[in-house]
């Protein structure tokens, strides 16, 4: 039986080689399908990894408080139109900040109030960007480095700003813009620092700091009609071991503040990256469905070609049967041939998929992920397609009557 299997493989190779053009075109269907799946999985995996690796890099002693309870149906939420609820004010207040600061082992608390708006310099057109009103502790928690100048300082005037290098280039045409003035909502700010370029637009803060302006919390309050709207609070504890206890304490304290209503969530580790990951997995899921359609079409292509091949080789089937091939031998012969087509397509699709992913990643801020799961998925998908669509032609071949088959002239 083992020899027979080897022989079937040789046979398949030989027969595919003799119809090279046809085999390549048939494989192409599977190649495209597997390539798109590989690309999607590699890129979405890479994107997810970016966020979680950042959290790892931060040392694991960071927790994030976000307004609103965690949704139990995150994927459905993605498909929903924004309702009035989405525009409600954030449930986190300055009062909450004070409570969190008082919790033992909490070393730093940085609120982030993200105001979107136009940043204008005197001479250039306004640039719409994220304006983050926060406290000096953000630099420490989120590891923001200064390239030039300094970060926020409570001793300075509240109307000072730190801007990202890209924003600086966009509005001043240079990264050297210390001492210059930007205007936000009619209020002038003096630039006192330029951030170091991070090239990291996807992060758990939800802000691309390369293009953002950072102002003090007081200035933020003044720009927002005297109300502080906190979208996120980053909390740092002294050690990793104390983080869990701190999270419990934060939850307790905030619940008390919010009169027992859990309209906030305290996240740590992988949980922080989940909303980003969910978005990517939703995108990946949709595109995978489209790739599945191309795989289906590829599979139908294999079935079609195998049926042609069976019809062409009717006489050969008759000869083989007369020489002692059983029905299962014939099934195995044709099934292995269709499997060779689909696996060949799968392997080339896997390789091409990664080439495409690498090419796309030059335009993106992250690299595709390399792991064995994607390889296994590519192989399993092509195996399933080959079997599924090769079985019918193979069974049809094996059912041929040897005498009729021998009578057919080729």
């Amino acid at each position: 039986m083992r020899f027979l299997f080897v022989n079937h493989i040789q046979n398949a190779r030989q027969s595919l080689k003799s119809n090279r053009m046809r085999s390549v075109l048939t494989m192409l269907g599977i190649t495209i399908g597997v390539a798109s799946i590989t690309t999607i999985l590699a890129l979405s995996g890479g994107a997810g990894q970016v966020v979680s690796s950042q959290i790892d890099a931060l040392g694991g002693n960071i927790a994030v408080i976000r307004p609103g309870a965690e949704s139990e149906t995150p994927l459905q939420d993605l498909a929903q139109f924004p309702t009035a609820q989405h525009f409600a004010a954030s449930t986190l207040t300055e009062n909450d900040l004070a409570v969190v600061r008082a919790i033992p082992n909490v070393t730093a608390v940085a609120p982030m109030m993200i105001l979107s708006g136009a940043v204008k310099a005197e001479t250039s057109a306004p640039v719409n960007t994220a304006i983050v009103a926060t406290t000096p502790e953000l630099a420490e928690i989120s590891d923001l480095e200064i390239q030039d100048g300094q970060f926020l300082d409570p001793n300075l005037s509240p109307y000072t700003a730190i801007i990202g290098p890209q924003l600086s280039v966009d509005i001043f045409g240079t990264e050297q813009s210390i001492g210059k003035t930007i205007t936000v909502r009619g209020q002038k700010f003096t630039v006192i620092g330029i951030l170091k370029r991070e090239n990291n637009p996807i992060n758990y803060n939800g802000v691309d700091f390369d293009g953002a302006a950072i102002i003090s919390q007081d200035a933020g309050r003044a720009l927002n009609q005297g109300v502080v709207q906190i979208q996120q609070v980053n909390v740092q504890t002294d050690t990793v071991a104390n983080l869990d206890q701190a999270i419990i304490d934060i939850n307790k304290a905030l619940l008390k503040n919010h009169l027992g209503e859990a309209d906030f969530s305290v996240l740590s580790g992988d949980q922080i990256a989940q909303p980003t990951n969910r978005l990517f997995s939703a995108i990946a899921g949709t595109t995978t469905a489209i790739a599945a359609i191309s795989l289906l079409v590829g599979g139908i292509g294999i079935m079609n070609i195998m049926l042609v091949s069976v019809a062409e080789r009717t006489r050969e089937i008759g000869i083989r049967k007369a020489l002692g091939a059983s029905n299962s031998d014939i099934v195995a012969q044709f099934l292995i041939e269709s499997l060779a087509l689909s696996i060949g397509g799968g392997i080339s699709g896997y390789v091409i998929g990664y080439l495409v992913a690498l090419a796309i990643s030059t335009l993106l801020p992250f690299f595709p992920i390399f792991n064995w799961e994607i390889g296994v998925i590519a192989i399993v998908v092509s195996l399933v397609i080959g079997t599924l669509f090769g079985l019918y032609p193979a069974i049809r071949a094996s059912r041929k009557d040897p005498i009729d088959a021998l009578r057919q002239y080729d």
């Binding site: 080897v6 007369a322 020489l323 091939a325 299962s328 040897p402």
Partner: protein, 264 residues
Amino acid sequence: MPKTKTEPVIVLKDLKKRFGIGDAEHYAIDGINLTIRKGEFIAIMGPSGCGKTTLLNILGLLDSKIEGEYELEERSVASLSARRQARIRSQQIGFIFQSFNLVTRLNVIDNVALPLVYKGTTQLNRLKQASAILHNFHLGEREYYMPYQLSGGQMQRVAIARALVNDPSIILADEPTGNLDSHSSHIIMEELSDLHKRGNTIIMVTHNPRLTTYASRVITMLDGRIDTDTGAPTRLEDLNTKRPLGKVSKKRRSKSRRKKEVKA
């Protein structure tokens, strides 16, 4: 005079094969009773359409939709599974077809080695055995030719080599020399009678009355029935093939004729 009767290999009892239904119903085989014993060399003759090839297909287990009874080596064929029948075809029956029936996309040696694949022989042994038998048929230098590169006679010799490579006990030949010149015919028939002498059972359909001289028993068919049958030989000596006298090869005959003419 010692009377010998070898054990029967093939027993047919009132065998019928029907084609078509209703008004078009037609019996290609219409009640054949036949016992073929081990070691017989049978030539089946008869006009076209008398059911010779159909009978051969039934004997070779290619056609199992039959009425009546067919016992192969004391087992009723009707009771055998399709897989078992395939194994018998692989290990006990060698087919030689009217047309060559080579697999066109395989080279000569792979074609010859094909039956060994289903017997489970390793590739090296397959090629060795195929090569050996091709040498016997003077096709040693043609091993890696493709079938379309051979003459009709060579193709038929390859087909016969393929039928014999498994060393089958029963050889079914449908006009094995129909497409060969007399020289090649001679080689093939010599090979067949060699096999016969080694104890193989050979059943050959032919139109050529000359070839019946190789056979130990001649059956003529007419309209799906056995018309005449020389019967199973009762004496041991009769099991041996008779050699036709004189030279068979037309070439040699014409050559010698030419020599005579030259002398004259």
